[in-house]
């Protein structure tokens, strides 16, 4: 027997649901970007300046980059469930994406610090500055110029990766739109709107980042 579910059209009452998706996407991005940047800054510095740390952190960096995010979400979710501490999907997302962003940021920080010419570090230390003074007044400001455009790129990538947290039940924007598609069968319309949202956030930021990169080239 053919069983056909009736499709209802898109209605204005769907808007709150979509906005919930937007909101969830944004807070997840914000939280993961904040923690991820902090983690990444520390790890990047450690990997650059502390040889022992490189060995210890290598497995973490390696694994995070070689296992799909979907699987990382599922595993973290499952681990916490097994340990008897069920986590909200938002926190599963924050944990995994922060660690992921931490790895990406640490690559940038490491490269940025490494790009500072050694003569500048020598000159600073020779003037009597301590290691931390040199880092704070010379290496870090210079490294930031190269790190910043790349960092913006990772934030953009993060925004897009939030879409995957839906596998553990987080209702971010893409998931919300999928639900709407199932109900209304207006795939193209819903997707166009969703795509526009992501595009509207990511594209201007990436343009800004490219412009920044060009100004830093001139110094």
């Amino acid at each position: 027997m053919q069983f056909q579910l009736p499709y209802s059209g898109l209605q204005w009452s769907d808007l709150p649901y979509v906005l919930l998706g937007v909101w969830n996407t944004l807070i997840l991005t914000l939280a993961a970007a904040t923690f991820g940047t902090l983690i990444g800054a520390v790890i990047g510095w450690l990997r650059q300046d502390v040889p022992a740390a490189r060995v210890i952190l290598a497995p973490y960096v390696d694994v995070t980059r070689s296992v799909p995010l979907i699987i990382q979400f599922i595993l973290v979710n499952s681990s916490f469930a097994l340990a008897g501490i069920p986590l909200e999907p938002l926190w599963v997302g924050v944990i995994v994406l922060s660690l992921y962003m931490g790895v990406l940021t640490s690559e940038l920080v490491r490269a940025g610090l490494g790009a500072v010419r050694f003569q500048l570090k020598w000159a600073s230390r020779s003037l009597g500055m301590s290691y931390w003074q040199e880092l704070r007044y010379v290496s870090a400001p210079l490294a930031l110029r190269t790190i910043f455009p790349g960092w913006i790129g990772t934030v953009i990538a993060l925004t897009k990766d939030t879409a995957l947290v839906s596998v553990v039940g987080y209702v971010e924007l893409l998931r919300a739109s999928q639900v709407l598609i199932n109900r209304t069968n207006e795939a193209l319309l819903v997707l166009a709107g969703t795509g526009l949202f992501y595009f509207a956030i990511c594209y201007p930021i990436s343009l800004y980042s490219r412009r920044l990169e060009r100004t830093f080239q001139h110094d």
Binding site: I71, I74, D161, T162, E186, Y198, F199
Partner: protein
Amino acid sequence: MFNYTFYWSIVWEKFPELLQGARVTLEVTILSMIFGTALALPLSLWRRAEEGVGHAFATGWVELARNTPALFQVYMVYFGLGSLHIHLPSYFAMVAALTFNNAGYLAETFRGGLNSVPPQQLSAARSLGMSAFSAYAYVVFPQVFQVVFFPYVNQLNWALLNSSLGMIIGLRELTGATQAAQSESFRTFEFFIVAACIYYLMAKAIETLAQLASWRLFGR
């Protein structure tokens, strides 16, 4: 805390299904990279042209690929085309979506590679009497190749990992196969840890091959 006994033998039983999934993963990855590379070549040339229809088209493609989630692109191919009554099986939809994405990113990579070769190289080659074809083949291309090699391998790695999105549209690549395999016993953790290891090995294999190729080709 851990009132849980790990039950590995069930994973072992279903292991062939996982391997079959891994095979699908590799197929989808490699196919999407081949098609993506083929498309990226003209796209990158159009991008280098300052204006024209080709340039606009290529720019649209590249910016769309880079500024929307990969999953969105998968949905567009699977559901979006579906509402135009073009129902692609998930295998083809996945390859198509990944191809679209690969082409976009690789176009930019190739463009960067072409830009990195100083125009004097071409002039010097032509001044030595080489034809345009020879100049490009023997002087420009090898340099471009060296510059884009590692970004290219990165993209390959990305494609491998993002093939896992296939699970969401019902494709039995590795993640999808794992999801199906664990749905009876609900041993989520055990199954997915094994899947994670398989991905890790595949990613490492690619990295090692790339490193070997790099030593052979570039000496470093």
